[in-house]
Symmetry: C2
Subunit: 396 residues, 2 copies
């Protein structure tokens, strides 16, 4: 159970889809083996909202998705892995449209109600004929197990990722992928949130942005923002009205938990790094400092090495040039052990702290002593595995 | 020879000190073995200027150094390695003052003409009595070999670093250390520039800032800005007046070369990564994009893996949210091979480009197609060695 939640673990085990949602995945010949194409379908039209990468070289599916989501209604989401359809020009846009149309035909809706995502290699044209062929007959395989859909969207993820929880009469489910090229604004991160609660697209959009702001936008595996990030929510209303406050809380909790899951499975990662900054003058300051620690290679290798390095923590706080820091007021703890007080090394027993840092979750808490604002960022350790994986990755 | 310089390699081999400068190094008991204390002395007072880290948790020597350099005159620089005297409060300031006084007594000057630097572990008090004892009699060992002084300031550097060149009748010498916790504003980077040219402190300050701006401030090993960075220049005038334009050019060339030397010897590094951005609308934009590439873990592992990854280059350009990027106008080359044109993958032979990337210097050139401004940043590949070194580093 997550000690940040004041209630018992609310997540279903195993995760399930909300009523009226089903998914399938298949190999359509993009990967040598394993599913590389996923389809998520609602039995009825669903209100929808989405946020996309801020990267200025977005993929064709992101460009098309921004257009599609304006309608505020989705019936299906179709996703391929292995090729991202980024840096592919007009031909790429046409391929994304073809993919939407093929999924729409299979599902029995119109192309403007299908969200398209692609993730994988950049700069290679999508063999969209394989995707069209793969989609044919796919609705016959639809299942209620979200992990089936989660499998088809994986790239370097080590396991499929889905979670669900109940909110009153409704269910809220997130299917996602993560792994690398992940920082702030959701990098090669795809997350699809499905619910049978009834909300308008406008309300979904507002709640989605609030939830993403404290979860996926505070997640960083490697500071690298992908060109394909997409986080979409579909609400088909089959469970009727749900209290908006309760739903917002559930959405926040689910997105934070999924952000932690993605960080923990970051490329090469062996530990979840959670950095909470308190005592900041503004919320913006707290976010900047929390991200500075989560992104610092020296903090990330310190977490990998299970060493409470006072100097690296102070360094990563002090290098936030746009946040006024009074060094003498900074305190910090690591997994509950005070390691810095009033800007100086606190008295602590190295061996005891190192033993505590053998845990698979490392909580670094920093108090800036400047105010009352706070924020939490999510990341992972930096390991030889990350380097091996990314130095060996060939782009073609 | 550096292909960026239009003249033959101007650097002396081996490097030498300008007239009137000498240095020594000793083991004073901070490190188990090897020199950990260096002294640089001018026979006469020298005009001086310095720049220091922007980190907001600066070490005691940086706080004292900002005070010392206001006088604009130095006779000596004293540096210890192994303990940085950072996060040490009032006791740390007192230790830095004691260190300056001890060096001044040994050299025969006043403490306000001695610049103090310390580099190494943060959060540990400096055993200043060992440094006082170490300094005693050290002037008897002064030599004209700059590499002797360079040895005493090393931390994780794999070799001592010094270079020198002639400017008219004068000599310009840089002694530096680098390795890790290096980004922008000169992280655990110490660089001492000595010359026998005659300049006022004001002119030195102006020329130093200009040179640092295009060299050490464009250097990043790991995005982590140290608490101890110091770059100081001393001009003792013994060679008389030197043309200011020629001296500025020499200073720029020497600082860029030393930045490259530090990058190449970055922790775990096997390659120098040089990123030049052209065609930017402003110089600031060019700097931001060049730094984005040099700091991207996915670019750094790509360089390590010798793979021309079109997607990672586009990603690292596109994630500069504050720089307007027209994806369709971006082109890029790697070691002279065009890999991106008009925002799309160019036609290139993978195997030929990979073979070229086996070189120990990787030049990535990006043209934004937006204007006429440019900048170059200096970094290195990210290797398993970096992770090993920093995960195994114990802070106490």
């Amino acid at each position: 159970m997550d000690d940040r939640l004041s209630v018992p673990n609310p997540f279903h085990d195993p995760p399930r889809l909300p009523r009226g949602f089903r998914c399938a995945s298949r190999n359509c010949g993009l990967k040598p083996r394993g599913p590389d194409l996923s389809l998520f379908v609602s039995d009825v039209d669903a209100a929808a909202a989405a946020v996309f990468t801020r990267n200025q070289v977005p993929g064709a599916p992101v460009l098309l998705g921004r257009e599609t989501i304006r309608g505020g209604v989705l019936r299906a989401i179709v996703v391929n892995s292995r090729i991202s359809n980024v840096a592919t020009g007009e031909q790429g846009i046409a391929a994304a449209r073809t993919m939407a149309a093929a999924a729409a035909a299979e599902v029995g809706t119109s192309a403007d109600r299908v969200l398209v995502s692609s993730t994988g290699v950049i700069g290679v044209q999508l063999p969209v004929d394989r995707i069209e062929a793969g989609l044919r007959g796919m609705t016959a395989e639809l299942t209620t197990d979200p992990l089936v859909g989660a499998e088809g969207i994986m790239t370097t993820d080590t396991h499929p990722k889905a979670l669900s929880l109940s909110v009153g009469p409704a269910t809220l489910t997130i299917i996602a992928k993560g792994a690398g090229m992940i920082e702030p604004n959701m990098a090669t991160m795809l997350a699809y949130i499905l619910t049978d609660a009834a909300f308008t697209a406008d309300r979904l959009d507002r709640m989605l942005r609030a939830a993403v702001d404290i979860s996926f936008n505070m997640l960083s595996v490697d500071t690298d923002t992908s060109t394909s990030d997409t986080c979409a929510i579909m609400a088909n209303g089959l469970a009727g009205a749900v209290d908006e406050g309760a739903f917002g809380d559930a959405l926040n909790a689910a997105c934070v938990r999924m952000a932690e899951t993605l960080a923990r499975d970051g490329e090469g990662a062996t530990k979840l790094l959670r950095v909470t900054v308190r005592g900041a003058a503004t919320h913006g300051h707290a976010r900047v400092v929390a991200k500075s620690l989560v992104n610092s290679p020296l903090i990330k290798t310190m977490v990998h090495g299970a060493d409470p390095n006072v100097g690296r923590i102070l360094m990563a706080v002090g290098k936030c040039f746009d946040v006024p820091v009074d060094a003498d007021r900074v305190s910090a703890s690591v997994n509950g052990f005070a390691v810095i007080g009033d800007g100086q090394r606190a008295a602590f027993e190295d061996e005891r702290v190192r033993a505590a840092l053998a845990a698979d979750t490392i909580d670094v808490e920093v108090d800036l002593g400047a105010g009352a604002a706070g924020a939490t960022a999510y990341g992972c350790d930096l390991t030889e595995g990350y380097v091996r994986e990314n130095a060996a990755y060939y782009s073609s």
